[in-house]
């Protein structure tokens, strides 16, 4: 038993450093299952292996990496969210393209001059998109999706690394934060998803510190009223 353990003991460190070939590693793992001494030694040496990655000199990752990673993660989260079964109650909060401007009463508060239209991409039965141009050169496009919708912004200035965009909805007299923070890409495009637009009267977007805020801390760069 002892000789057997000593034979495997020589493989332990190599295994922990990922230096055994695949077949050797598999064989070692089989031994490990039945050898308490090896498991104890491995547990003891684990701390040494775990400190190896901590030994490297710190490099600051580019901000672009964080933005790119989180954009992919949020897109994936949105896809997951969209894959959920639609609620029985479907509320069409956005305008049918056919209804056009007659009911398109989107208001832009705090904006001096704006244009409203739709790009005809809707299906005429609850889907659709609405475009609003805001003061400051930002164009907002909202696309309805089930109970919620996607909010696209274009013409957004580049943000400082410590700032993000945060969307807010006003519902029943209360302002709620939209969980998905977002940032513009290098072309000034930014997008977020509002999962539930039921009862929402106003949509706003503000620039907030990285990580977002519980309540808006700055003037909205986008404010849209949604007709009920």
């Amino acid at each position: 038993m002892s000789t057997d353990h000593n034979r495997w003991r020589e493989d332990l460190a190599a295994y922990m450093l990922g230096a055994l070939d695949h077949e050797e590693a598999t064989e070692f793992e089989r031994h490990l299952e039945g050898c308490e001494r090896c498991r104890e030694e491995m547990q003891w040496l684990q701390a040494a292996v775990h400190t190896l990655p901590e030994s490297v000199e710190r490099q600051e990752p580019p901000q672009q990496l964080r933005q790119s990673l989180m954009a992919e993660v949020r897109a994936d989260a949105r896809t997951q969210s969209e894959a959920r079964p639609a609620r029985a109650k479907r509320r069409r909060w956005l305008l049918k393209p056919a209804a056009g401007f007659a009911v398109l009463a989107l208001l832009v508060a705090g904006a001096v001059g704006y244009e409203v239209g739709n790009d005809g991409s809707g299906d005429g039965d609850g889907g659709g998109s609405t475009i609003v141009r805001q003061a400051g050169g930002i164009t907002v496009k909202m696309v309805s999706e089930g109970d919620g919708g996607k909010l696209h912004l274009s013409g957004v200035d580049e943000l400082p690394p410590d700032k993000v965009l945060e969307a807010w909805v006003e519902r029943d007299g209360k302002v709620e934060a939209v969980p998905a923070l977002f940032v513009p890409d290098r072309h000034g495009q930014a997008e977020t998803t509002i999962e539930d637009m039921t009862g929402v009267k106003t949509v706003m977007v503000t620039k907030e510190p990285s990580g977002g805020s519980e309540t808006p801390t700055g003037e909205p760069i986008v404010t849209m009223s949604v007709p009920q």
Partner: protein
């Protein structure tokens, strides 16, 4: 419903992982902010190129995002797990670019000294102190032991490849690995005493 960032920041890594498993971007973002720098630094140490390190780090974290539920807390900390994922990705990257020599030295001090200092949190400062101690422990190893550990961990070479590179018997390579790890572990234990 995703948890708010402020709430996520108060949670321990182990508490964030179930949220990541439920696809909570805020929880994931906190994890990245805590450990992304270390993962990127490790990837850079292994692949030796900033663009490649960025690619490797992104792949590693996306892999964690998609497999967050696989984290097993009985096998170590979240940070160790994240860094092992980053290390494996970086080694895969090296292997896919066969022929590219990995960096083998620990001496990046000169480069870092030129970088502007950033504000350190207490936790980060402690980590850097620990890192310095570990570098010290590695530096205190006989060259023959640190060399085989570097080749294995940061170079991704198997013990048989290392034996060939260094012209040593395979048993000698494995023995040096063991002695090296035991010495590092011993110094860590002394540091904690």
């Amino acid at each position: 419903m995703a948890v708010r960032r402020e709430k996520a920041e108060r949670l321990a890594d182990e508490e964030l992982m179930p949220l990541v498993g439920r696809k909570d971007p805020e929880a994931f973002e906190v994890l990245y902010d805590r450990h992304g720098g270390a993962a990127y630094s490790l990837a850079y140490r292994i692949v030796g190129d900033r663009a490649a390190a960025e690619e490797v780090t992104q792949e590693a974290f996306i892999s964690v995002w998609r497999s967050g539920a696989r984290f097993d807390s009985t096998r170590g900390s979240v940070r160790s797990w994240l860094l092992s994922v980053a290390r494996n990705r970086a080694i895969d990257f090296l292997r896919s670019r066969a022929g590219k020599a990995p960096k083998l030295d620990f001496d990046d001090e000169a480069v870092l000294e030129q970088r502007p200092a950033t504000e350190l949190t207490e936790e980060e400062a402690l980590r850097r102190e620990t890192a310095a101690e570990v570098r010290g422990a590695l530096g205190n190893l006989p060259g023959e032991q640190s060399k085989v550990i570097e080749l294995a961990y940061f170079g991704g070479f198997s013990h048989s490849e290392i034996a060939r590179i260094l012209g040593l018997p395979m048993g000698t390579v494995k023995g040096r690995m063991r002695l090296g790890l035991e010495k590092i572990r011993g110094e860590l234990a002394e540091g904690l005493a």
